[in-house]
């Protein structure tokens, strides 16, 4: 049994709906997840899967006029869903730090990078200006920036992509948050820089005993860094397990297909696996039945649940729908040849 305090974030039945031409459509549909201390939880999916929606719902950064969030996001005793802005501002940046995809765009072009990090401290600590400056230097050291005193005075455009992302990370961890949300933190970076940034995130997590939600489309990144994985398709979690299980014993057809379409896994001269059809748009997403059914049409309708639920197929391994039991790649090949 885990201690109560190990549970950092408890998301229950989260629905986040966006308004499109008057009507609301669920971009995250009944998502339940938990983030534990000392763990990296990866949420993986392709564009339109709703993975970033979860991030913006947790941190409460969405267009309040055109977004409807229901369900519970429990942080300790606090429900972040519907939390008033003044209270939320005490949580954001202090208890939850956020790292975004494009480090250049995430930094204010007109502010010195040091001041941007210090801004977080200004709102969450009672440090004076001198103490804030010292803390920023300390943070810059921690995230591995050379010549931190000099860097403090730089503007974002004067730094390289990797250094910029380090600034963003310094900003996110300035107040030693318990939860760090990293939304595609390395997608805009070169592969060698990506490796460094991921290592840095792991180091930070180990030192601060925080929990990290890593949102990514890159299965390689997941395999290298995550402890737990949730695979999302069309707004729903389709499979959830520890990282080893996800890669060594994937069950849901979507997880398996995705892994199969990775270039580095295949024999070079064979075709890559292609998932038939396309991801439905938010408006055209099927709201009943198995959302992935249309992508694996050779599976008989009877194999799908009428209203697919998440099942715990083995301890800690959750899979949506029962169709995985009848899913075999060979059947598709037979079908296409026929």
């Amino acid at each position: 049994m885990e201690k109560q305090s190990d549970l950092l974030l408890d998301i229950q039945h989260l629905h986040t709906a966006y308004r499109l031409q008057g009507d609301f459509y669920d971009a995250a549909d009944d998502v339940s997840l938990t983030l534990k201390r000392d763990k990296i939880l990866a949420i993986v999916g392709e564009s339109g899967s709703g993975k970033s929606t979860i991030a913006s719902s947790i941190i409460g950064l969405y267009d309040h006029k055109n977004t409807k969030v229901t369900g519970d996001i429990l942080y300790n005793e606090l429900n972040l869903v519907g939390l008033n802005e003044a209270l939320f501002n005490k949580v954001r940046g202090d208890k939850i730090g956020m790292i975004f995809q494009d480090p250049l765009a995430s930094l204010n072009p007109l502010m010195r990078v040091g001041d941007q990090v210090a801004e977080t401290l200004y709102y969450h600590t009672d440090m004076d200006e001198k103490a804030r400056h010292a803390r920023v230097i300390e943070l810059f050291n921690q995230v591995g920036m050379p010549r931190p005193e000099e860097m403090y005075m730089n503007y974002p455009h004067e730094l390289s992509g990797g250094l910029r992302q380090r600034v963003v990370i310094a900003m996110a961890i300035a107040c030693k948050p318990e939860i760090i949300i990293a939304d595609e933190p390395t997608t805009a970076l070169d592969v060698t820089i990506q490796a460094q940034i991921l290592d840095l995130l792991e180091d930070i997590q180990r030192q601060s005993h925080s929990g990290i939600i890593l949102i990514t489309h890159d299965l390689g990144v997941v395999a290298e860094t995550a402890d737990e994985v949730a695979v999302m398709y069309a707004g729903q979690i389709v499979e959830r397990a520890d990282v080893k299980t996800i890669f060594e014993n994937p069950l849901h057809p979507y997880t398996r297909s995705l892994l199969n379409s990775m270039p580095q896994n295949e024999d070079e001269d064979e075709d890559l696996h292609v998932i038939q059809g396309t991801v439905p748009s938010l408006k055209n997403m099927p709201r009943t039945g198995d959302r992935f059914a249309a992508r694996i049409p050779w599976i008989p309708a009877s194999a799908h649940e009428e209203n697919p639920q998440i099942h715990e197929v083995e301890p800690g391994h959750f899979v949506r729908c029962t169709c995985w039991k009848s899913f075999r790649f060979e059947d598709q090949n037979a079908e296409t040849e026929a």
């Binding site: 392709e46 564009s47 992509g161 070169d190 592969v191 060698t192 990506q194 490796a195 460094q196 991921l198 290592d199 489309h217 890159d218 299965l219 390689g220 990144v221 395999a223 290298e224 990282v243 080893k244 890669f247 060594e248 297909s257 995705l258 892994l259 379409s261 990775m262 270039p263 580095q264 896994n265 295949e266 070079e268 075709d271 890559l272 696996h273 292609v274 998932i275 396309t278 991801v279």
Partner: protein, 328 residues
């Protein structure tokens, strides 16, 4: 070995840096600084590099949309860095390009029919019916429905647009297509589709690709031969097996070790290896780069494997390689 379709000889693309009171040219940015390689008919040649390595500039120089400072690009035995030669050879018909961002390379106010037909109109005289048949055929090749010709670029998803980009590039029956990060903006499953189509088309029409990418996994899947570019120069060049199985230059090793592996059981080992290589890369700069930080000229290690090494560096490198093997 197939016949060489294009040879790049000592290609240089420099951009002037102006400074001082009179704004005179004081130095150059050596975006591409003496690059040599050649592509065989019908093969996929991979060009790998990180941002700023000069890989895209090389691609653009080959298509002729980047001014070449020095060197030659030999096509059918003629140097096509001269515009007059390009015209004579119908080079612009034979060599096409696919871009990363297909949306911005397509006129948003034109229908798909006109977008694909544009290169055909430039080089061939077809009647309206013939042209429509040809466009239909091209769309068919990349697996697009026939009603696509009446639509506009924004009505398609990223993957579909990229396939239209492929169709457009294929329209003139080219011999060589420069594909600059053609799938970098796409989701995994969509990328698979586009890569498959590119392979099928290659087999069908015997097209050669220069596949420019930062993604070593994709390049490995696509190409038979490849070159790795760093700071405007090639650090290593050779067959896929040679490069991926016996990388010799530290930069290549660094790139390869940085690719995230889908191998959860050994991830600590990967990390250790990555850190070891990174350490070596940082410590031994002088061994792999000259005093100005420039990459050394390529030297032949085996007939299908060239590595940028200092004078007399081959023996040392081979020795080290063997030592590593023995210690394994």
């Amino acid at each position: 070995m197939g016949k060489e379709i294009i040879q790049i000889k000592d290609l240089k693309v420099y951009y002037p840096i102006r400074s001082g009171f009179w704004n005179r040219i004081t130095d150059y940015v050596r975006a591409v600084d003496g690059v040599n390689f050649s592509i065989n008919e019908g093969e996929t040649y991979g060009l790998i590099g990180e941002s700023g390595s000069g890989k895209s500039t090389t691609g653009k120089a080959i298509v002729g949309i980047e001014k070449v400072t020095g060197g030659q690009i030999m096509y059918k035995g003629v140097d096509i860095t001269k515009a007059s030669n390009r015209k004579k050879l119908n080079y612009n018909k034979d060599v096409q390009m696919i871009f990363q961002d297909s949306m911005s390379s397509m006129n948003p106010r034109k229908r798909i029919e006109d977008i694909i037909a544009e290169p055909i109109r430039n080089f061939e005289n077809l009647t309206t019916d013939q042209e429509r048949d040809r466009v239909q055929e091209l769309l068919d090749i990349v697996g697009m429905p026939s009603d696509a010709i009446y639509k506009y670029p924004h009505e398609f998803s990223g993957g579909q647009r990229q396939r239209i980009g492929v169709a457009r590039a294929v329209a003139t029956n080219p011999k060589l297509i420069i594909a600059d990060e053609p799938t970098s903006a796409l989701d995994l499953s969509v990328q698979a589709q586009v890569l498959n189509f590119m392979k099928h088309i290659q087999q069908q029409y015997n097209i050669a690709y220069l596949f420019i990418s930062h993604d070593l996994g994709v390049v490995k899947h696509m190409s038979e031969n490849l070159a790795i570019m760093h700071r405007g120069r090639l650090v290593e060049l050779g067959s896929r097996d040679e490069i991926y199985k016996h990388p010799m230059h530290i930069y290549t090793k660094r790139l390869l070790s940085a690719i995230p592996q889908v191998d959860v059981a050994n991830r600590e080992a990967h990390k250790a290896e990555r850190e070891r290589v990174e350490h070596e890369f940082l410590e031994n700069q002088s061994k792999w780069y000259d005093a100005d930080g420039r990459v050394f000229p390529l030297q032949e290690v085996t007939p299908n494997h060239l590595v940028a090494l200092p004078e007399g560096g081959i023996r040392a490198a081979i020795q080290e390689e063997q030592n590593e093997k023995e210690s394994d």
